[in-house]
Structure formats: structure tokens, C-alpha cells
């Protein structure tokens, strides 16, 4: 089994990082909302919620970093400069790689912004 997926050409890889961001967003917000609505159901302290958000954040950032590395590879490790606008297969691949890399950067920052409240909030608001 290979650790790093081999390069495939599909539009879906473009969405990897935003999907990871969306999943992380849902995990953080739903987790905190459920805990704060029914703390007795979950039976954990708020620090456990913060630790859970921290773990989800580390996983999400790692996945996005991997997605960024794959995109960088698809972009040819920066050998060519944009715009990749020739009607060739090579330019299409490079364009998609570069777009995926930019989206990964955006998602990386978005995941950090989503997780930041957990650094400062120490209790539920009732």
C-alpha cells in the first residue's frame, strides 16, 4: 500500500480541502452545541470538548496539508508559472493543481479561524 496517493486526474481532488474544512466546521459547532444543550448526556467536562476540537483541528490541518502537497505535486512543484491557459492536457493539469493549492491555503486558514474560539472560551453560555 502506498502512503501517498498516486496522481490521478479528476475534478474531485479540487474539493478535498474545502470538504475537510466543512466537516471540521460541523464537528466543532455541532459538538459544542450538543454538549452545551445536554451536558449530562455527554457526561464530559468542557475541557474535553476543547480537547476534541483540538484533535479535530490537528486531523483537519494534516489532511489539508496533504491535499496541498498533492496539489503542489500536480502543479509540477512550481516549475511553471500561471496562467495555465493553453488548451492542452498539461495546462489543464497544472491549472487544477494550482487552484487546488490555493483552495488548500484558504481552507487551512478557515480551519484555524473555526477552531480559535475554543482557545478562549472556557464554558457554555446559558
Amino acid at each position: 500500500m502506498r502512503l501517498i496517493p498516486k496522481q490521478i486526474e479528476t475534478l474531485w481532488t479540487l474539493f478535498t480541502a474545502p470538504v475537510v474544512w466543512a466537516a471540521h466546521f460541523l464537528v466543532c459547532y455541532l459538538g459544542a452545541a450538543i454538549y452545551c444543550a445536554k451536558p449530562e448526556l455527554v457526561g464530559l467536562s468542557f475541557s474535553a470538548v476543547r480537547a476534541g476540537i483540538a484533535a479535530a483541528t490537528v486531523i483537519a490541518l494534516s489532511l489539508i496539508a496533504l491535499s496541498a502537497w498533492l496539489a503542489w505535486r500536480q502543479w509540477g512543484f512550481g516549475t511553471d508559472d500561471p496562467p495555465h491557459d493553453d488548451p492542452t492536457r498539461r495546462d489543464r493539469t497544472l491549472f487544477q493543481g494550482f487552484a487546488t493549492l490555493l483552495l488548500s491555503g484558504l481552507s487551512f486558514i478557515a480551519v484555524i479561524f473555526t477552531a480559535m474560539p475554543a482557545l478562549f472560551l472556557t464554558e457554555c453560555i446559558r
Binding site: 508559472d81 491555503g105 486558514i109 484555524i112 479561524f113 480559535m116 474560539p117 482557545l119 478562549f120 472560551l121 472556557t122 464554558e123 453560555i125 446559558r126
Partner: protein, 325 residues
């Protein structure tokens, strides 16, 4: 009778000023102080960035019109367009989040010596003081709080969503039917402030306000003690007219047979800064005008007009109500 109806546009404009200061930028409370600092930080940060961007634009358009090499242009985009905004936004977000626990000090709220229960109604505020010792004290359309002491507010609504806000003291908090929201405030300076309803709640939403009075703790305690007992003049002659014309079926006046709970508690109306929920000065004339034609002053309010009463009776009731100190 025409004197009661002489409500001009000008007096409406003036009316909004009757209940005191309302600026977020003149904080008189701990929470509002932090909000004001946050505002100035954001404003100066935004202004600096704006000046920088406009400066660069002018620089490139007027003074330095040579083309940049692709490499240095990319570098400017990377640092100025990606790294700088990300780091700046991250820092501003961290600062705002860091302020949040202090803006909503829930842990401290439950240990407050005084709890004030406020219920929003179309278009007025029902207020009940729950001091740590002694029985609850009912009032309406005015909130008094001691300077330097933390007060817990429990906020409810009897009909639609309202929002409670005393800008110089702290941030706003919604009043949602079926829910109890908590807010904690600590006034740091004495003063009279205006609290508007901050969530559209119907026809007279813009006319739903209250006065908030921050008082020295000693003065506050003697005021609260006076509010807990009937006004000395409650039994005076105007009370008979008040009861005969049916006012007591909606309004409560301590020390009389008026036991209604639909409208605001009027037990100490004369001691309030404003009447009509923060929109009119507390004068005999304003009270009489409100009694005769409330819909002119507060469209959509549940109070019926009493302009069929002899003007002398309306005036006498108004004088009696004003005397309830």
C-alpha cells in the same frame, strides 16, 4: 381637550432625547468600556490599512509608473495579499475572542447580590428587582442599578422577540419567548442612560425604550426600600377616579385596589425619569396626553383611549399618578 393631542413632530424628535445618554462611545460600565476599546482598535486598524492601500494605489498611479518585474509583483501579492491579511485577521479575531469571556461574565453573574428580571412586552418593559434580602420589588420601564456592583439581569419576553440594550453599560441581549437569557452588567459611573429595544418587535418598536439609572449604592438601597412600600400619596383623591374609570383592571398600584397585571405597574410612576416606556418626559401634561390618546403616542399599544372621560378627570388622574413618588 385639544391640549392633549398637540403632539407635533418636533416633540417626537425631542422625546427620543428624554431618557439620557445612549452612546456606546461614552462607556459607563465595565462591559461597555471593553466594547468601546474594541471599536477604537478596529477603527484605527481599519483606518491604517485603508491609508496604506490608498497610499500604495496613489504611489503606483502617480509617482512610480514603471512596470514591476513579474517576480517582485508576485512577492508583493504573496506578502501584501495573502500573508498580511491572514495574520492581521488572525490577530484581530484572537483579540475579539479574548474579550468575549469578559463581555459576558456568566460565572460572576450568579454570585451577584442583585438580580433584576426584565420581561419585554409590546411595547414596554416589566421589571422586577430580586435583592438578595427582602421581597421582590415590581416596577416598569425603568431600571436602576447600583454603581460598582455586579447586577444579574434575567431577560424574558411575553410575546415576540425583543432585545435588551443599555449602550453605555454593555452589549445587547435578545429576549426570546419561552427562554430566559442572562446578562451581567456593572456600572462604573452614575448617570441616566437610554435603553432602546434593539430587535424589531412591531408597530411601536422604535418607541419602546426605558431609562436606566446608575446610582450610588447607598442611594440605590434607599430608593429600592422606598419602592418596596406603597407611595405615601397612593390613597389620595385621584385614586378614586383611577379605580372608578377601570384603570385598575390593567394597572397595579401598591396600596390601592388597582391590581391589574396587563399593563405596567404604576406604583411609583412619579419617581420615574420618563413615561410611556422611555419616550416622554415625566410631566403631568405628558401623562394626561397618554391617558387620553395612547395610540397617538404609541401606535399599536394595548391601552385603549380614554378621551371620552371629562378632561378634568384625566388631569386629576395624571396629577395623582405624578404624585406617586
Amino acid at each position: 381637550m385639544g391640549q392633549y393631542f398637540s403632539l407635533s413632530a418636533a416633540s417626537f424628535l425631542l422625546a427620543s432625547g428624554y431618557a439620557g445618554a445612549r452612546s456606546v462611545l461614552e462607556p459607563a460600565g465595565e462591559e461597555a468600556q471593553q466594547i468601546a476599546v474594541l471599536f477604537w482598535v478596529m477603527l484605527s486598524g481599519g483606518a491604517l490599512i485603508w491609508l496604506g492601500v490608498v497610499g500604495l494605489l496613489l504611489h503606483s498611479a502617480l509617482f512610480n509608473r514603471r512596470r514591476l518585474a513579474e517576480k517582485s509583483a508576485s512577492r508583493i501579492i504573496l506578502w501584501g495579499g495573502v500573508v498580511f491579511p491572514s495574520v492581521t485577521l488572525c490577530a484581530l479575531l484572537a483579540y475579539a475572542l479574548w474579550l468575549m469571556p469578559g463581555l459576558r461574565p456568566f460565572a460572576q453573574a450568579s454570585s451577584a447580590a442583585l438580580r433584576i428580571e426584565v420581561t419585554g412586552r409590546q411595547f414596554w418593559w416589566e421589571v422586577v428587582y430580586h435583592p438578595s434580602q427582602g421581597p421582590p420589588v415590581a416596577s416598569a420601564n425603568e431600571i436602576r442599578l447600583p454603581v460598582g456592583e455586579r447586577v444579574e439581569l434575567t431577560l424574558k419576553s411575553a410575546d415576540v422577540i425583543h432585545s435588551f440594550w443599555i449602550p453605555p453599560l454593555g452589549g445587547k441581549m435578545d429576549m426570546i419567548p419561552g427562554r430566559i437569557n442572562r446578562l451581567s452588567l456593572k456600572a462604573t459611573k452614575p448617570g441616566v442612560f437610554r435603553g432602546p429595544c434593539a430587535e424589531y418587535c412591531g408597530t411601536s418598536h422604535a418607541l419602546m425604550a426605558f431609562s436606566a439609572v446608575a446610582m450610588e449604592p447607598e442611594a440605590f438601597r434607599s430608593w429600592l426600600a422606598a419602592q418596596a412600600i406603597p407611595a405615601p400619596s397612593a390613597g389620595a383623591s385621584g385614586s378614586a377616579l383611577f379605580l372608578r374609570h377601570g384603570c385598575g383592571s390593567c394597572h397595579f398600584v401598591a396600596g390601592t385596589d388597582a391590581r391589574g397585571t396587563i399593563g405596567p405597574d404604576l406604583s411609583h410612576l412619579g419617581s420615574r425619569v420618563t413615561v410611556g416606556a422611555g419616550i416622554l418626559p415625566n410631566t403631568e401634561d405628558a401623562v394626561a396626553r397618554f391617558i387620553a390618546r395612547p395610540e397617538l403616542i404609541k401606535p399599536g399599544s394595548s391601552m385603549p383611549a380614554f378621551d371620552m372621560l371629562p378632561p378634568g378627570d384625566v388631569r386629576a388622574i395624571a396629577a395623582w399618578l405624578r404624585g406617586l413618588q
